[in-house]
Amino acid sequence: METRLRATLPDHELLRLYEQMVMSREFEESCAEQYTKGHITGFLHLYSGQEAVAVGATAGLHVDDYILSAYREHAQAIVRGADPRRVMAELFGKATGICKGKGGSMHLFDPNLNFMGGYAIVGGQLPIAVGLAFSAKYRREDRLAACFFGDGAVNQGTFHESLNWARLWELPVLFICENNFYGIGTEVHRSSALASIHKRTCGYDIPSEKVDGMDVIAVYRAVKHAAERVRETSLPYFIEATTYRFRGHSMADPAKYRSAAEHEVWKARDPIPALAKRLIEEEITDAGHLEGILGNCRTVVQEAVKFAEESPWPEDEEVYNDIYV
């Protein structure tokens, strides 16, 4: 297989993938700082380390395709096109947030972007993705539902119920399991009888594959190919992207259950410097340009924080809105 970057995407697209990963990382690291300062409260689950999955996958989808995710979803929303300023404001609980500052970190939503939500309940989004796919098929629309979830979700009943339905009714769902190997502190092999998650789909006759979730190009290729297949056949497909979160489950989790050695192995596979190295080696860009991208992302994130800080709190009466029509 042709492995050079330019054989996969044109230069500006490659650089966009890089920029989106950097943006995601900078945004999340800024969130960590704002959490420490007390500006972001509650539970904050950061995506640092997993960027290649959201970025590569989103690039492999159409903008009409639905995206659903779990509670580690800031990057998913931003990569899909959500304004970082309004996402940050949401995390702060400010009125300018993309959900009016009422939902915070785990409940981002933007139907304008076909971003159909972050979900705080593990596995809660899977049947909803199947329903969206059913509706798309019923309405003869050319769109699929891409449903992201973690390794922890695969032992919920909803996982099995959803896979069965998607295959039984031949629905265009692309299941993307982000396997970061830990459900909080419990490793996959301590929670799943068959730890090789993509193999579990055989019970539902859904084809599946495993992809290196630390390689944005590999994720892009796999998702693009899978999405085309789902569109052509109107059948579900399943991708397991193996990845790693560089931080704890949430900011409240010191992640003492993982060894420093293991952490180092994965840090060495950080998807951002890995892509940078290839971009430079293949003479697509130079280090100076990549520095410039980092600088721009930092500026955007700083502006997002400033916007969130300066935004007003919601009015008290806002709690009564959006319950009924």
Binding site: I121, N155, G183
Partner: protein, 320 residues
């Protein structure tokens, strides 16, 4: 006797009961190696082994269902659900099976299990991590719903819950986990289920609360001659204690952090209206959250009953 917080009191109760009775097993997400998200079961897996302190997959329905099976056949499971909002995935097992095993088997089986879970607000996360949906579970005949309001009641009630022959949903107020310390005896003691306690005597009105609201109520009543009842068990609740107090005071304010409609306050109010109306001198007032999902951060302060709202309700009933 030591001054400890609620996490320590719960840990003490579970540890002593694990030592006392090898039928007690603990299961839940990250309760073992990680010691639970709020560290209530810290150190237990090392002490008692992974056969008795079980890290489960993220499968709330199976956690509760497994516990039912264990309980039906000789064990005393204490299951942990990470947050009350996560228990909705296990609603079927709780409502359809745990609550009805005794009835369905005509008492040939019983279900001596405890489901422990943090509930309520105070950690500044919205909705599913801050739910106060205790009333759902009070609507399940066959399940006891128990809510401690501090370290002392937490230990005594948890020991009683584990020893109770029927299923108990044990709601731990998240906000209080580390907020207050109390003197807690080192030795075993139980607080009977189904019994309220009068935490403050008074003659002008009765304020009824439970869980985390009790702490707020105690601050609100400082300058009133108010009797305060801590229900401790919501189902079955201690109507005798409530009615006795109403007979004395003639005025009732009920405070809960759950939404208003069909909140447990409605059940108490209905009971007082049915059985104590001749003792009433004022309308029964409820101070509750509004009928909306728990919002994030700043709006939470508006959402949760405030001291001002409680004193306003007290002033209102005292006008009669």
């Amino acid at each position: 006797m030591a001054r400890i917080n609620m996490v320590q009191a719960l840990n003490m109760a579970l540890g002593s009961e694990m030592k006392r009775d090898d039928r007690v097993v603990i299961l839940g997400e990250d309760v073992g190696r990680d010691g639970g998200v709020f560290r209530v079961t810290e150190g237990f897996q090392e002490q008692f082994g992974s056969e008795r302190v079980i890290d489960t997959p993220i499968s709330e329905s199976a956690i509760v269902g497994m516990a039912i099976g264990m309980a039906a056949y000789g064990l005393l499971p204490v299951a942990e659900i990470q947050f009350l909002g996560f228990s909705y995935a296990a609603f079927d097992q709780l409502f359809v099976h745990a609550a009805r095993l005794r009835s369905r088997s005509r008492s040939r089986y019983n279900c001596p299990m405890v489901v422990r879970t943090p509930y309520g607000g105070g950690i500044k996360a919205p909705e599913l991590h801050e739910e106060s949906s205790e009333a759902f579970f009070c609507h399940m005949p066959g399940i006891k719903v128990v809510v401690p309001s501090g370290p002392y009641t937490a230990k005594g009630l948890l020991l009683a819950a584990i020893r109770d022959p029927d299923p108990v949903l044990f709601l731990e107020p998240t906000r209080l986990y580390r907020l207050i310390k109390e003197e807690v005896p080192d030795g075993e003691y139980t607080i009977p289920l189904g019994k309220a306690r009068v935490v403050r005597e008074g003659g002008d009105l009765t304020v009824i609360a439970w869980g985390s609201m009790l702490e707020r109520v105690m601050k609100a009543v400082e300058r009133y001659n108010a009797e305060v009842i801590d229900l401790l068990t919501l189902n079955p609740f201690d109507a005798v204690a409530v009615l006795a107090s109403v007979k004395k005071t003639g005025r009732v304010v009920i405070v809960h952090e759950a939404p208003r409609t069909c909140g447990f306050g409605a059940e108490i109010a209905a009971t007082v209206a049915e059985q104590g109306i001749m003792d009433l001198r004022a309308p029964i007032l409820r101070v509750t959250a509004p009928d909306v999902p728990v919002p994030l951060s700043k709006l939470f302060d508006y959402y949760i009953p405030s001291i001002e709202q409680i004193t306003a309700a007290i002033d209102e009933v005292l006008r009669y």
